[in-house]
């Protein structure tokens, strides 16, 4: 196990290095000049030279990349070019809790509803329960998140105007706080995030469970006279969970990265929102940091999946 963890840790470091280099090079060679963009209508050549120097953008690329890596080791991602008085670390510190909260609640909803629904469908395969469940799942899965988000927003406005409500159309409230106004703001985005995940996990769980239910050992368990509940929960479910673990692990890894469309539509100032704004603002330090964060999430998620495998199925050995 230890050997495996060390191996994965080393390969993870290389993945992060690779991502950092690619994002740096893309940023370096892109025709967008972040300082020119920062100065906008107030551009003067002399001012441009001074600011380029202040941000170290007049250094050779390898020097800039070295500086970036050197500071990254100390978890210092530099200063935002767009928000001049703010460090990138500060910006991430604001965004990560919001994205994590949105995706955590969404994932919880997904797992608590999606996996049981999938298992129920498998157990009741080809009955009206299965058909209804899978139709709903397919519908939610087929509809892009932003369509559902737009529809939800229109409905909120319609209800507000028709019934004199004041339900928040957008915004997130205070992260990890649950005053009434916070719950109002968070409820719809979480439900929408959960809806897409629900559909995915319900379908995955159904397929996986159906496969397991067809195995010899399940048939043997039934032949031994075990109750159906014992067959499903003790023998089938544990094995059916193995393929789900990969997806859950990756989802957990991506919790910090947020949900692009939902954050955008509902004006939630999470990491995805920050990353998109940074791209449009040519704010390379923020782009690099969010890309690294996403890579870190995926590496961690993968690792988590592998570890969870061994817990769910002790026959799997990590070498």
């Amino acid at each position: 196990m230890l050997q495996f963890l060390v191996k994965r840790l080393v390969s993870g470091v290389f993945v992060l290095l690779g991502v950092s280099f690619i994002t740096f090079i893309i940023g370096y060679f892109t025709p967008v000049d972040p300082i020119r963009q920062l100065m906008g209508q107030h551009y003067t050549y002399v001012g441009w030279l001074q600011l380029r120097h202040a941000y170290g953008l007049d250094l050779p690329w390898y020097q800039q990349y070295y500086n970036f890596l050197f500071h990254c080791v100390k978890l210092d991602f530099g200063t935002s070019i767009h928000y001049q008085n703010r460090s990138v670390g500060d910006i991430l510190k604001d965004g990560v809790p919001i994205s994590t909260e949105l995706t955590s609640w969404g994932l919880l909803l997904t797992l608590l509803l999606g996996i049981p629904a999938g298992i129920l469908s498998a157990v009741k395969a080809n009955t009206w329960i299965d058909t209804t469940n899978m139709t709903v799942a397919l519908l939610l899965y087929a509809l892009p998140g932003f369509i559902i988000a737009v529809f939800a927003q229109v409905m909120i406005v319609w209800c507000n105007v028709q019934f004199g409500l004041n339900w928040p159309v957008a915004n997130w409230g205070t992260p990890w706080h649950y005053a009434l106004s916070d719950i109002q703001a968070k409820l719809v985005p979480v439900l929408i995030y959960g809806a897409a995940g629900y559909a995915y996990f319900a379908r995955l769980a159904r397929t996986s469970m159906l496969e397991v239910l067809d195995q010899d050992y399940v048939r043997s368990a039934r032949a031994k006279g075990l109750s159906e509940r014992a067959v499903i929960y003790k023998h089938a479910l544990r094995n059916a969970l193995v393929p789900l673990i990969t997806s859950i692990g990756l989802s957990v890894g991506l919790l910090i990265v947020g949900a692009l469309f939902i954050e955008r539509m509902f004006n939630i100032q999470g990491i995805a929102h920050i990353a998109i704004d940074a791209v449009s603002q040519g704010d390379f330090p923020v782009i690099q940091a969010t890309a690294l964060l996403a890579a870190f999430g995926i590496v961690t998620g993968n690792l988590l999946s592998d570890i969870l495998y061994t817990i769910v199925d002790p026959r799997i050995k990590l070498v």
């Binding site: 928000y83 965004g95 909120i156 409500l165 004041n166 957008a170 109002q184 509902f266 704004d277």
Partner: protein, 564 residues
Amino acid sequence: MWEKHTLRGGFLFALLCLSITLIAAACTTSTNRDNQTTVAPDSQQILRLPIGSTDFTTLDPALVQDGGDVEAIQTIFTGLVQFDNKGNIKDQLAASHVISPDGLRYTFTLRPDLKFSDGTPLTAEDVAYSINRTLLPATQSPVTNYLNLIKDYDKITGGQIKTLIGDSLIVKDPRTLVIVLKQAQAYFLQTLTYPTSYVVERKLIERYGKKWTDHLSEGGGAGPFKVASYSHTLGLDVVPDSFYYGRQPRLKRIEFRISGDVNTTYEAYLSNQYDEAAIPISQLDSAKQRPDYIHTPSLVLSMIQLNYNIKPFDILKIRQAFDVAIDRDLITRNLLRGVVTPTHRYIPTGMYGANPQVVKGPDGTAGTAGDRAQAVALLQQGLQDGGYSNLSSLPTITLTTWNTPGSLKMANVLVDQWKTILGVTVHVNSIDPNQYEQTIGTGNLQAWMYAWQADYPDPHDWLVVFFGKGQDYNSMHFGQNSSRMAQEQQALQNMMVWADTLKDPRTRANVYNEIEQKLASETAWIPLYQAASNFLRSPRVHGIVDNPLGVINPDDWANIYLTI
């Protein structure tokens, strides 16, 4: 079994209660919009302003560029002089100011007993510190050029000297500050109205460094409001500053909220969650019918700039032909839904220096519908002047524009009009908005669409910035080109320099008006329209005087209030 049922029933009951509570809460916070005559009680004097989809870029007056940031900053900070709501300069922190006969020394006497929002006395030293701080390279301000008239500006921004205090910022006593200029310029006070010279509290900056604007609830400014709270993910709340030297605001709180994109913000306004909202283009027609619709011309001009160094725009008549061929009325009516004003102006209306008379286009009229016959005649003369035998011998003409749907539509309409009227094919080159400015800055484009918003309402910011010799924005090479017009243009450039030395504002404005008319007759660029602010404001809000500058006089907050 019983336990399971109870659990499920309890869960459903809790869910039902939660739903009812949430909906009830939503209902109770809604506002009755029918009765808007009674002044709201203090507890409801809360103005809710949306700021868009991102946090303020900065609340540091030394760095600010964005219009929305300026609006918030002007509630918290004030400067020596500012604009009233008609665009006139008035003393603000200063009680009075005196300009020396040679125009090089501005002596400001501060109001007595000025204080920052934490009660700390504000003196001339603080004013000098604030201006000096903006200019220090360590501040990394992208807007130092507002103060470039101050003596030794180049030396301090270039890091050759460490301070201007005692040099060109002279503190005579706690209430008197002298600012020394490198050359007499009539528009210096206008540049001082920009937040770069607003007064900030030294002790806060020294305590918190670059993060000082995260601590504005501890002081920092001397405006009508002070910061109550600031969150980078929610927005900014300001409350009246009890140490403010003017009349106290009637509002008890302003909430600047990160509100999402223009569509989301508009939807939220319709749900009564904000008191103002910009209007998405798609909603403009219906919004214009609403009683809460507000239309105010703004100091923004849209134009097409033509490069004198690239053929065929080195020929006067060809430039004029392209100008006269455009039917601006049609464009503004059909494409821009009548919310802008077609114009020949180079200095927009609504500010000092705007020509009180009409500005005539190259066809000698103020009409904006274009003149087909004259455009064709001008083109024919232009072809002769340029030695072109016919239209097909003209070089390829390319109009560059932003790669955004609205800009591309506009470019295509223009290309269409030129093709229909002049028979000239113009190609469209679209560029990512992020690269637009730097591409223009190369000076190698042939023709490009552009828009400019006043930094400060003075003709200098419109004419000298674009047509002055050696100006960063003179990408058209006006004056310094190889065309036959160059000599005349250089005379106009000298006239601009002279205009900025004139002390009498009326004479100076007249000179600028004359220059503007000459530029318009020559098609120095092709003006298209003056933009406007189109937005909705809740009828509950009273006392805001809308003006093209988009500023609220700090003392006007005493007249702004909400009704229920």
